[in-house]
């Protein structure tokens, strides 16, 4: 039986006067990969950013409805946003390591959450790098600058940074958009492994990527959730004509 991790209820979202998400309702299953796909401007990144309140920072952004994670509405007054973001990590389209060493990039989150013990820190950084399938490539130069890594390595470093603080949920916003096919394949393989421990939500405009990696797929168009279901079904026999049109290249 599939257990839900995130439940989105009657979610509406505005940038100023523009309504960009229209009454979204669906549940994201635990320890699976859920892809959000749709044409540019459909609101998929906005929806992803609603899941860890990244939109809070944007002027004129307004939201109604609920996003419930583990039974709690993350938009409730009592919620500490920093605790929330510890639980819901995020990796962005363009790898964005800090201009520090590889080690410091991964240790950063652990340090701000109060970890000071050097040995502990080292163990956790190593583990995160291993889990992100990066350790073997960088173990000789942990204190070298992160910005000297290749794009694909930088992206895996960002994943290591995100998982170092042991979140429950990992959000990926077009994680492979700036990577070549080989680096992309490595990230996809990594996602497959990570889903054993994390609930993963990935935004992608790349249909084939959604098809390859996701267990569940949500199709968004013009701010509306057109269809959500198991990826097998969505790609084989979508129920909504708009999904069919998108998959067969007639829109998008």
């Amino acid at each position: 039986m599939v257990k839900d991790k995130i439940t989105i209820i009657n979610l509406n979202f505005w940038y100023g006067k523009k309504l960009v998400l229209k009454n979204i309702n669906f549940s994201i299953p635990a320890k699976m990969i859920t892809a959000i796909m749709g044409p540019s401007g459909c609101g998929k990144s906005t929806l992803l950013r609603c899941l860890n309140r990244m939109n809070d920072l944007i002027d004129g952004a307004r939201l109604t409805g609920k996003v419930i994670i583990d039974g709690q509405d993350i938009y409730a007054r009592s919620v500490d946003v920093y605790e929330l973001r510890k639980k819901v990590g995020m990796v962005f389209q363009k790898p964005n390591p800090f201009p520090k060493s590889i080690f410091e990039n991964v240790a950063y989150g652990l340090k701000i959450h109060g970890l000071r013990d050097k040995n502990m820190l080292y163990t956790k950084v190593e583990q995160a790098l291993r889990d992100a399938h990066l350790y073997d490539e960088v173990k000789e130069r942990l204190h070298g600058p992160a910005l000297e890594l290749s794009g694909g390595q930088q992206q895996r470093l960002c994943i290591a940074r995100a998982i170092a603080v042991k979140p429950d949920i990992l959000l990926f916003d077009e994680p492979c958009a700036s990577l070549d096919p080989i680096a992309t394949a490595k990230i996809e393989k990594l996602l497959e492994v990570l889903k054993k421990d994390y609930t993963i939500v990935i935004v992608t405009h790349n249909l084939q990527q959604a098809a390859r990696v996701a267990d569940y797929t949500a199709f968004l168009m013009l701010g509306e959730l057109v269809e959500f279901g198991p990826t097998d079904r969505i790609f084989k026999s979508p129920r909504d004509q708009r999904t069919e049109n998108y998959l067969t290249g007639r829109i998008g």
Binding site: A211, R212, F235, K236
Partner: protein, 218 residues
């Protein structure tokens, strides 16, 4: 993920093949040993399972195509699986036909001792098994040998028809029973043809060459 599902697909197909193979040998066994319980098993259990599995295999093959867009040898493999799946289901149908003919013949006296029919069944069974071996092992030479055996089966079929015709001419009361036996032979001949198809699909999977429709070259 793709590799796992492709393996699952091939395993399901091989499972289907072994069940269908068993159905064919059981149908002939029912006829030879005049055993009604075997017929019941084929009609009430085996056929249903084979049909269900056929749908499962097709569904999984479509899922793999939709989600992973396989290319080159992977694409050929899935194409072959879809066709072999169809062939196997048809073979299952022929086994059911044989079981039904056997049902008619069971309470009636034999027209003649059955000699060529079991031989035909044996060769067709071996062809079926070998065609699947050729597919699963990617053995092109074995596949070509299977295709050649089809001629032996065709020869036996002609011989059985000729022989039974003489019985029918000699004693018209045997016509109905002899006809049933001819139909059984016909089913076996079709099974061998379908095994040949499977062998041809195997060659296509391995080499990308289409060898059907010009058998005389082989």
């Amino acid at each position: 993920m793709f590799e796992e599902r492709l393996t699952e697909l091939k395993e399901k197909l091989l499972l289907q093949a072994s069940q269908v193979e068993e159905m064919v040998s059981k149908s002939i066994k029912a006829l030879l040993e005049r055993d009604e319980s075997i017929i019941t098993e084929i009609l009430e259990r085996d056929e249903i399972r084979v049909n269900e599995r056929e749908v499962e295999i097709e569904d999984l093959a479509l899922t793999i195509l939709a989600r992973y867009q396989p290319e080159a040898s992977y694409l050929r493999t899935i194409m072959a699986v879809i066709k072999i799946n169809n062939d196997l289901e048809r073979i299952g149908d022929h086994a059911v036909n044989i079981a039904e003919h056997a049902m008619y013949l069971l309470p009636r006296p034999m027209v003649k001792p059955l000699i060529d029919l079991p031989r035909m069944a044996e060769i067709a069974g071996v062809m079926l098994k070998e065609s699947l071996d050729a597919f699963s092992q990617g053995d092109e030479n074995l596949a070509i040998r299977v295709c050649r055996k089809d001629e032996v089966v065709d020869g036996l079929y002609d011989q059985i028809v000729r022989e039974l015709l003489t019985y029918m001419i000699g004693d018209p009361s045997t016509i109905e029973r002899a006809l049933k036996l001819i139909l059984v032979a016909r089913d076996l001949e079709r099974i061998a043809d379908l095994a040949t198809n499977i062998a041809e699909e195997s060659v296509y999977t391995v080499t990308g060459d289409i060898i059907r429709h010009h058998r005389s070259d082989k």
